[in-house]
């Protein structure tokens, strides 16, 4: 789908980089869906994340802002993955957050680990789907009503298991248009 000259950066936070199997699974599936090469590049330390001492959770929006700034300029998008619990101020928690049509997104394994069995194949499969989902937002995709589409917002683990790891026809067209637009604005042929 995408150009091989540009890459997507996957940035593990904290001791997540030790989970080689998970990261490899995520990289592989992202490559298959978006067509970009992926670079594994730790950009932020866990201690640099903004902890809310009352909520004992981490506010995800500032992390995205930092990622967008420090990410290498040749990277098309950057996806951070963390084990900590994320929130945005008005919500109790978020599974991840993305800059809609922007560069950065983040995914937390915290709620998935809480609800599923970490280290299993099913766990890795769920995380890979949600990684594609968050990256989809950076390609300007909104949530999709098609329960099988990876952009479908899932309220339960079983819903995540039911959805596929790829875009529905409509989302696929939209993401391709978005890729073409961004490559054209970068002066790269597609």
């Amino acid at each position: 789908m995408g150009s091989k000259q540009h890459s997507l950066v996957i940035s593990p936070i904290g001791d997540l980089h030790a989970d080689g199997e998970l990261l490899e699974r995520v990289r592989r599936e992202i490559r298959e869906v978006f067509g970009y090469e992926t670079d594994l590049l730790p950009l932020i330390d866990e201690k640099d994340l903004c902890l809310d001492p009352v909520r004992k959770q981490y506010h995800s929006t500032p992390i995205l802002e930092t990622l967008a700034i420090i990410c290498p300029p040749e990277a098309v998008k950057v996806l951070a993955i963390t084990k900590v619990d994320l929130f945005i101020p008005i919500l109790t928690h978020v599974y991840g957050e993305a800059q809609l049509g922007g560069r950065a997104c983040i995914l937390s394994t915290y709620r998935f680990a809480e609800r599923g069995s970490p280290g299993t194949e099913a766990f890795r499969c769920r995380l890979a789907k949600e990684a594609i989902h968050e990256l989809g937002h950076t390609f300007n995709l909104r949530h999709c009503r098609d329960a099988a589409c990876v952009m479908h917002y899932c309220r339960s683990i079983s819903e995540v298991d039911r959805k596929s790891n790829h875009f529905c026809r409509t989302c696929a067209v939209l993401v391709e248009d978005e890729m073409r637009r961004s490559l054209q604005s970068d002066g790269v042929g597609f």
């Binding site: 929006t61 945005i88 101020p89 008005i90 919500l91 109790t92 957050e97």
Partner: protein
């Protein structure tokens, strides 16, 4: 389900931004306002589906915004956002029309479910409104037609009184459209999805009217092989039209009064009280005040029925509606009978305008129907309207109205060989009215 148009009203930038971003990722169109004043300003130019409104804000409070927004747009769904300490205010907001409240911080899954629920509810409401409007439009067109000031006043009155649940008494000569006015009230009322049940009180002898109205229990009388629901029961949730109310017996008046007071009755032969909820509309062509003085109609029942009262004007008082009505009937009957007739000649219309139509709109409808049946070609001609050529039309001056009426009744009864139903139909009056006239004028079949 498409995304919603949502306005977030919160004086905290971080809340507006984070919630806005989350909702945009969910596919909604989001606007943000930092104060109640800004929200109201935005509302002037934009229609929103959902308003996410913080209760506690600097300046205008969320509750004040809610009241003002609901005054202008009762359809918008308002979700109050509140901190734990402001729950009483949130409950107050619910009483003032807020759809729901969310406690800060809220679960994203709950927010999503709530938005989906609101959008589904709004879609269903719109669908119901659409069907209701469609139904109303059709009925209004088909039932009551007229552009004269007097009939427009009746339409306006119906529009005003329909939403209330008050009992209505409709007066008017026979054939003026009292039944149609009653149906229009029902259609425009909150009960329009419920049944519209008509009882012609003049059409039944007393004992039959009783079982017709109240129903009967199996074995209540010899012919009661099964239990039968009466019209009162069938009208539950809707409107009950008691047509020709002036015709009911004194005993039935007492029974009816009891039902009107308690909305509870018993089937004939039944012991189980049956509760009913309906709106009553009564119609009459009789002078009930006179009947009260004569002791044939109960005063207490009259006042129970006469909460709202209006008169449907006779056709002679709204002659400017004749061309419109005649044209409507012509097209309807031509279509029914598959005839190519689609015009009324100037001469035929002139004759219609000169005539006084004692049988009112019903008589006009019958006259046009006859004209369509006997006429040839595309135009309705005076010769197709035999009713205008009857005895009274050329009667010598000096004869009284009573004499003219008797002569006309006789001629129609003779013409139909004293078939009362057919004669009543031609005359545009009810059978019971015709019986009444036959009795009053002591008309006898010729030997």
């Amino acid at each position: 389900m498409n995304g919603a148009k949502i306005l977030i009203v919160d004086d905290e930038l971080i809340v507006r931004e984070s919630l806005g971003g989350w909702l945009e990722r969910d596919g909604h169109k989001v606007d943000k306002a930092a104060s109640g004043e800004e929200a109201l300003e935005r509302f002037k130019n934009t229609r929103y589906d959902i308003l996410l409104l913080d209760i506690k804000m600097e300046g205008m409070s969320g509750l004040e915004v809610l009241k003002k927004v609901k005054e202008n747009d009762p359809d918008v769904s308002v979700v109050m956002i509140t901190a734990y300490g402001s729950i009483p205010s949130a409950i107050e907001a619910m009483k003032n029309g807020a759809y729901e409240y969310l406690l800060k911080p809220f679960d994203p899954d709950e927010l999503m479910v709530l938005i989906e629920k609101i959008l589904r509810h709004q879609a269903e409401t719109r669908e119901t409104q659409f069907l209701r409007e469609q139904y109303k439009e059709r009925t209004r067109f088909e039932s009551m037609i007229g552009q004269s000031r007097v009939i427009q006043e009746v339409f306006d009155l119906i529009e005003r009184i329909a939403p209330a649940d008050s009992t209505v008494l409709i007066k008017g000569e026979t054939g003026t459209g009292k039944g149609l006015a009653a149906r229009a009230i029902h259609t425009k009322s909150r009960r329009c999805q419920g049944p519209f049940v008509v009882v012609n009180c003049g059409a039944f002898p007393e004992h039959l009217l009783e079982s017709e109205l109240f129903g009967y229990q199996k074995g209540a009388f010899t012919d009661a092989k099964t239990t039968k629901k009466g019209r009162l029961e069938l009208a539950h949730g809707g409107t009950l039209l008691l047509d020709e109310i002036g015709e009911i017996s004194t005993r039935m008046q007492i029974d009816l009064l009891r039902v009107l007071e308690d909305h509870v009755f018993y089937r004939v032969g039944g012991t189980q009280p049956i509760e009913v909820d309906f709106r009553i509309i009564a119609a009459t062509n009789k002078d009930l005040e006179k009947a009260i003085k004569q002791g044939t109609f109960r005063e207490d029942l009259y006042y129970r029925l006469n909460v709202i009262c209006f008169t449907v004007p006779p056709l002679r008082d709204r002659k400017e509606d004749i061309p419109l009505l005649a044209d409507y009937f012509l097209r309807r009957f031509a279509q029914d009978t598959n005839k190519p007739m689609d015009q009324i000649s100037r001469e035929a219309l002139d004759e219609m305008m000169l005539y006084d139509w004692p049988g009112n709109v019903r008589e006009l409808a019958n006259a046009v129907e006859r004209g369509v049946v006997v006429g040839r070609g595309r135009r309705l001609l005076p010769k197709d309207l035999p009713i205008f050529r009857s005895e009274y039309a050329s009667s010598p001056p000096g004869r009284t109205l009573r004499e003219v009426e008797i002569a006309h009744l006789k001629s129609i009864l003779e013409e139909t060989q004293w078939n009362v139903s057919k004669s009543a139909d031609i005359l545009g009056i009810d059978r019971s009215t015709l019986y009444d006239k036959i009795k009053r004028y002591e008309l006898r079949k010729r030997a």
